[in-house]
Subunit: 367 residues, 2 copies
């Protein structure tokens, strides 16, 4: 995104926010009790959109009304936060969710101050949903940071200190390029990549980089760092949408890692209002598969009770309703084992890059 469109998106975000506050004002002027209507954010109002292959909110709405004291307080807090965000955008500044919580102590109306960070986090999510503007466009930064990228990709990042052109192999150290909090400040200038490989663990990320996998296979290695931050998922989606790159997700072979894959591919319940922005529905899972545990006789650990429960709940999860996943999950319950991606090292340090990944990528028609 260029500087101009950034400025455009900032001013759009500000307008959307001010429109929200203006609605309260209009309701007052019309002699109505102010209200704010938002989709009900409970599990029962989250639907799997079969066409888009992602989670979205259903039709049920909740209304916050100033009729009650607690409702009025919520709307008061919302107006204070809108005021703060509008000013933040005007000054081209940003803040973290935690700072917002603490900052509310300086609000002159004591009733507008937050009682807990859960409350302020929730309000920001509500505002995201109602205004259709993302937290990043409000310039609210996360606490968790994005991960790193290594691969044949030239980007231009719009920083507060000016533009930076960075090649994600030639201009970075072994640690790679650090994804900024808002990856929409990145523009893709050029690339020589055939696909993206998102990797769960740092140990495996380092293995791929040491073995030169990104160079040999023209591959962009994205480190997920466990459950990926929003910034990491957003960047991955943009690699798919803007560069047309196949996206593959390489994790451990256990139910929690399948959820990591699920959150990259289909979004999560918590951020269902952002699925369109964050999810990469045709991302492909590249292992460790339960079938690999059997085929390669990998070192394993037995499934714990919570692993078994998680696998069983995945059998009911709409994201995993395919023959492939049912077969893999049932096989895993049957063999009662899980394996980490680094367990491939039991076949030598090069097995993953010389044999495992090339064979999988070939079978998936990615290379």
């Amino acid at each position: 995104m260029s500087t101009d469109s950034e400025t455009q998106s900032e001013s759009d975000a500000r307008e959307q926010l001010i429109d929200l506050a203006a609605e309260f004002y209009d309701q007052f002027a019309d002699g109505e009790v102010p209200t704010m209507s938002i989709p009900t954010r409970t599990k029962s109002n989250i639907e799997y959109d079969e066409d888009m292959d992602v989670w979205v909110y259903g039709d049920r709405k909740s209304t916050r009304s100033a009729k009650t004291v607690s409702g009025a307080q919520k709307l008061l807090k919302a107006t204070y936060v809108i005021d703060f965000l509008a000013q933040q955008l005007e000054e081209d500044r940003s803040s973290t969710l935690r700072e917002l919580y603490y900052l509310s102590e300086s609000f002159d109306h004591e009733e507008a101050q937050f009682n807990s960070q859960d409350e302020s986090n929730q309000l920001i999510e509500d505002l995201e949903i109602v205004s259709d503007v993302r937290r990043e466009e409000f310039h609210m930064r996360p606490e968790e940071s994005g991960a790193t990228v290594m691969g044949p990709l030239l980007i231009r990042e719009q920083t507060r200190r000016g533009e930076r052109e960075i090649h994600c192999q030639e201009d970075v150290g072994e640690g790679g390029y650090q994804i900024p909090n808002d990856p929409d400040t990145i523009e893709f200038l050029d690339n020589d990549a055939d696909f993206a490989l998102c990797v769960e663990t740092g140990g495996m990320r380092d293995r791929l980089v040491e073995n030169g996998f990104d160079e040999e296979h023209n591959c962009i290695v994205v480190h997920l760092k466990g459950q990926p931050a929003r910034a990491t998922r957003r960047l991955t989606k943009r690699l798919r949408d803007e560069l047309g790159l196949p996206v593959t997700v390489f994790t451990d072979g256990d139910p929690w890692s399948y959820r990591i894959y699920g959150s990259v591919a289909y979004g999560s319940i918590k951020s269902a209002h952002l699925s369109e922005y964050l999810a990469t529905p045709d991302a492909q899972f590249i292992g460790i598969q339960p079938a690999d545990i059997v085929e390669y006789d990998l070192p394993t650990d037995p499934l714990s009770d919570s692993d078994v429960n998680a696998l069983e709940s995945e059998l009911e999860d709409p994201r995993f309703q395919t023959d492939y996943w049912r077969e893999q999950i049932e096989l895993q319950l049957d063999i009662d084992k899980k394996a980490e991606q680094q367990s491939l090292a039991s076949r030598g340090l090069d097995f993953v890059t010389d044999t495992y990944l090339p064979e999988r990528l070939d079978a998936m028609d990615v290379i």
Copy 2:
């Protein structure tokens, strides 16, 4: 460190390892039962070195002898690992601790295979201590990754893909420069810095960078990411020793954060054999101090039982035996409160960079 000296350190490491194995051989040749002697690694054998201001091992030694089956197995495992490491160094490769554990499955002698990763981790630490070579020099990578740096510092990193010259403000995005797993591959080329500021949380690191604190005060901002990885502590020490920069540590105001400061400044019990390499004894604590909670009336949480226990054990900890720390810890127990660094936002987003840090740095004679 230049390429030449790197190669020197690699060949030194290999020699030290092979010398260890040679000792077993000599013992066999002399008709002795092979043994390996290492410092006892229990809390009772860890001493606070008053001169160096860091933790070190005491004089007590334990002996691993092939006289017993379990002792013989330990020495067998050690020789297999020495063989693996020597080969790894010869091929200029590296691996993670977890890979080593899995890789042992490919050892031809079943008795040499590890039963758990704790066992292989422990052996690597033993070898570090006995050979006086650090894990990084064995080319063993950690799972946890180093954090990031932003500031007026030009470095040259020796990567597998050649040298990279990177200025840690001008050549990086907002995310900063990612510290590599072994920061001794970095050479400091030039800098315009007056001091280093190590920051516990990502939210505060981002605040300092957004507010341009590094530019205004010629400061190198090092993100600790909570309890810092070895790579981060090593880099911090090198900023102090090689560039002569004062090092300050900025954390939350609770006992766990004081331990973060303690591990930067004085080392930790777990890595007492590395204190000389990792610890920065004259690193200064720059808050949040319990006195700040009172003076600035910061938003707080009450101390939990485990907070109180941790504070009380710090009162006994040799690292905190100064008037300053006794006073602060007793004050904190008295007010029964703790505060996060981001709570300074209750006085506005610029308070930390315009007022708090400049006042503290001035009082500490750093600026």
